[in-house]
Symmetry: D2
Subunit: 341 residues, 4 copies
Amino acid sequence: MKVGIVGASGYSGEVLVKLLLGHPLVTLAAVTSRSNAGKPVAQVIPSVRGLDRGLKFTDSDPAALAADDIDLYFLALPHGAAATYAKALVAAGKRVIDLSADFRIADLATYQKYYGDHHAPELLPSARFVLPELTSPEWKTTAKIAAAPGCYPTGMLIPLVPLLKAHLVTREHIVVNSYSGVSGAGKKVEEAYLYVERSESTKAYGLVKHRHIAEAEEQIALHTGATTIIQFNPHLAPMRRGIATTITVPAAVGITIGQLYETWRATYAKSPFVQLLASGETPDTAHTVGTNRIDMSAVHDPRTGNFVITSAEDNLMKGASGQAVQIMNLWCGFSETAGLV
Amino acid sequence: MKVGIVGASGYSGEVLVKLLLGHPLVTLAAVTSRSNAGKPVAQVIPSVRGLDRGLKFTDSDPAALAADDIDLYFLALPHGAAATYAKALVAAGKRVIDLSADFRIADLATYQKYYGDHHAPELLPSARFVLPELTSPEWKTTAKIAAAPGCYPTGMLIPLVPLLKAHLVTREHIVVNSYSGVSGAGKKVEEAYLYVERSESTKAYGLVKHRHIAEAEEQIALHTGATTIIQFNPHLAPMRRGIATTITVPAAVGITIGQLYETWRATYAKSPFVQLLASGETPDTAHTVGTNRIDMSAVHDPRTGNFVITSAEDNLMKGASGQAVQIMNLWCGFSETAGLV
Amino acid sequence: MKVGIVGASGYSGEVLVKLLLGHPLVTLAAVTSRSNAGKPVAQVIPSVRGLDRGLKFTDSDPAALAADDIDLYFLALPHGAAATYAKALVAAGKRVIDLSADFRIADLATYQKYYGDHHAPELLPSARFVLPELTSPEWKTTAKIAAAPGCYPTGMLIPLVPLLKAHLVTREHIVVNSYSGVSGAGKKVEEAYLYVERSESTKAYGLVKHRHIAEAEEQIALHTGATTIIQFNPHLAPMRRGIATTITVPAAVGITIGQLYETWRATYAKSPFVQLLASGETPDTAHTVGTNRIDMSAVHDPRTGNFVITSAEDNLMKGASGQAVQIMNLWCGFSETAGLV
Amino acid sequence: MKVGIVGASGYSGEVLVKLLLGHPLVTLAAVTSRSNAGKPVAQVIPSVRGLDRGLKFTDSDPAALAADDIDLYFLALPHGAAATYAKALVAAGKRVIDLSADFRIADLATYQKYYGDHHAPELLPSARFVLPELTSPEWKTTAKIAAAPGCYPTGMLIPLVPLLKAHLVTREHIVVNSYSGVSGAGKKVEEAYLYVERSESTKAYGLVKHRHIAEAEEQIALHTGATTIIQFNPHLAPMRRGIATTITVPAAVGITIGQLYETWRATYAKSPFVQLLASGETPDTAHTVGTNRIDMSAVHDPRTGNFVITSAEDNLMKGASGQAVQIMNLWCGFSETAGLV
């Protein structure tokens, strides 16, 4: 099977190139980038030197891509741009896995509130937000576009959704603090992302109405049938990759940490990429970097009545490109872990 | 005036040595360390090469220290050990500024619950927890021992206490997440603190009943007359120094961000080390490293009704040794900022 | 084919575990560690959570290992200890790939000068130093023990040997400066390797008679038939993995940079893990981390008449465990790149 | 005395602002920056919050600066721009300390070869390259412009010049490798300097004819009366500040390490910022960061006959702004260490 990547010059694009070059069941046949068109892939992504089979970046005209013989395209583009490409590719009968926000939110008004105009609203009914561990499998036959979740939502939805569904926690006073490595901001050439500025620096940013909260809250509503408002506080930490998420949520009356773990175990018994750590052990971003895993654990604080849940993931793997490959694996009937372990 | 440091071989001890060697109004006349006795100070703390005036580490027999001509001692010792030294030094009429937890908690039972036996409970009435910006100034004449606050409590008490006192926020559902540089764990030679383990690693630790919460909650109770239970989630971040604290607290009914800032401004108008950043701007640990400042700001989240408050400080300066010098300055009638800017 | 690792608790052991768990043609059937005996592999090496197939660390009695059904053992032990295990395993007819220094040096007196007593000198004739790109292939049939080269020698021998053999450079005044990530020192729980000590720190260490120079100079002598003395200056740099090596060597009279590259190209045309960068482009450790590559390039400095050669590699991959797997691949007739890309 | 800084928005400008705000004998009365004109200093340089006395960036018209009442100006500008300002300021009778390369090289042809056109060649006779520890003190009365040395030249000249003058080492086959923190590249908003690119990355750059070698070789020639060509290999290391320099130089016949140290001791007996470490101990960039020191040591390698000399300094302090303040102190008759310890 031939696959392609549109917009492979950012950090998640780079990781996607590496994963697909090493995937045993697909051939990476096209990588596009307006700014890098004509350059060998290994010149732009030096970590794949010797592995790129002569592949070069091509320009990214939607019509030309639609006309080629590639079966499935990954879109690693800014939101807005992704919708335009999706339109042409879906019309040509290709499968699309979108890493942008354009098709993560089912409700158009919500999308517009957080992102502005949508360039292909008519495609929303054909698109599915696919968090493989939680999304009902019917998407594999009904979706034309699979939207890979954002990095932050992945780190909070996997721990929280089963607990909310099972009424083990309250819907009120949920506080999520996430600490992301700098690659989470994308490959932005701005002063704020210089080595000297970010090294030895931890700080909050984007407090109040961070875009990622829109898809997280919509998913929770869809999974549980009720609205939940979350206090989400994102931060930058001085590391390249990784997201550490700490969720404080009041336990429902009488619920024990044992019940929480039981629910998690039942939900994720067959999920190769979810690792439950014992209560009291806390996940570490460093242990997940380069893997497609999310590690998580929880404690009950008897002083406050809260559960404190912690998760760790690689923002470029389970938080972006690894998850996109996992989606492809499931969609194409491959082993879920193909090319990911 | 002559001052001395007992136990100057850890990270806060090192910073204290540097500050006191450069202080214009005191002479650092003794630094003790059992393991380094006999060694030149600059051999153990290479960053003061050329500045140590031939000072050597001495052994640290409490009786010998009590008999010398030094006016004021800083104790940079583990809790438990500090109390033993304080006893001898106070008996000899010396002032003591303690950087350990031994005299931070007025209530003996609380101390015992978090730290075990106390080795000098009879001294508790002569000791004061001194957070210079908040502690009522009578301590300057009544205290024999000034307990410098912990790094985490400093980062949460300065923002929170005035708001709780003024009833601008609720006492319930307060969630504090702090991210500390690795020096916050002290100079512990353990696998967990190796460069390779901590680099690129963010993780929670010590969830549930972290020791620092005891002094923070006691101080809040003393300042406000009411018990407040806080969810405190400490983390390690891959940096040498710095603590970033993010506090989520529900706003009291009808209270605006303007009122919050007004209260902060009124409280800290004369505090040279508290810097208020505009709402929407967030403090950055990197900007406070090497300074004795705490930078802080807040936003109101209309979706949740919470204030999200962020503070940043250098854990070894405002969180430990810088604050200890600030306490000395006030106690001795020096300018509050002497040796600190 | 079943393989085992003796002493898998250090950093190169960890990487070896990961590589062998993911290798398509072998089964990792035993991992030993005295200190971790009985523990699940994923508990000690959290990055392989979910991938360790229930494998546990076992104790490492040489006689017991000799009696098992494993075909090939990797020794990831300190020098000295490795020889003892090699003796038992070779006697039992197993192949041994040794990552220590014990069998890297053919000349016993040289070994003794740098490392002290040798615990199995009788095995030296059955052992081969195997740098796959340079060692003559007869080792595959004659060796009982394959000694994987050290990290620093790999980074200097691959660039230098072909140039010395072809007389493109002089034998005098060769200066090699290498900068290694902290994992190069092993998982040593010492103050010098704490995060706070190594972060933001670059420094030379082990100047004069660093052990690795012994094997490098012996190899050069064996390859070229002449003695060459190299000034080798190792350093620690504040990163987890990676070695950057910069070699200054006078060009032989009249030799051009074109001739240097021609020789390199001829030597490494079929070496999948050697990547030549254009003159003027310099290799970057970050681009090689996680790969088994060595990237290298050279410039001619007309002011000094020197070639300045730079190489970059991952000290735990091409500098240790990746190279050991490459050796296994070649020894067992697998594809050279199996399990390594 | 009033001083000003032209071009204070880069990293050395920032450090200069901090040093001068804290200097006990001068008043920082003007800081200019075209891009930041009108902004409070503490808004652009958050680490001086609370210390900036209301100072704002002003625009930087040379004529306006020439007309003000400031006695001495620091120029923290790119080369080329500095000369233009120097012309106006010198004409107005002000002292100028230039941190750029414009007045470091006495020989116009050499300047042009490395930097292109010079915008004020007529001022070269009034300018002096001032490395306080080595430059003959007559500059204090004769110079109108003091050129502060570059960061790399400082780290090689202080160790090398006395040895070359005393004929303890040869002039041939000198190899200098330097590893600089990322701030050494200046505050350049380019992809190459992003956190994600530089973290975990060590690499050579600018091999062959690095600009800094011009001033270093000219100084050596002026001090020793003979031409010396040096192989200089600069590198970037993943740290914010600091330069580690390793110099390999053949010992002159019969010269011992004792003689080397004797010469160093004699030369630097009264230099507060030069610290000699015992042979075998190596300087560490981390120990010099934030100080104006250069730490250095040497070993003799009997295998090669070379001395291996290592030095460490803070590129923004002794390598730039600290040294500029040291120059001011000497020029104005202040204590050499005023504002620097």
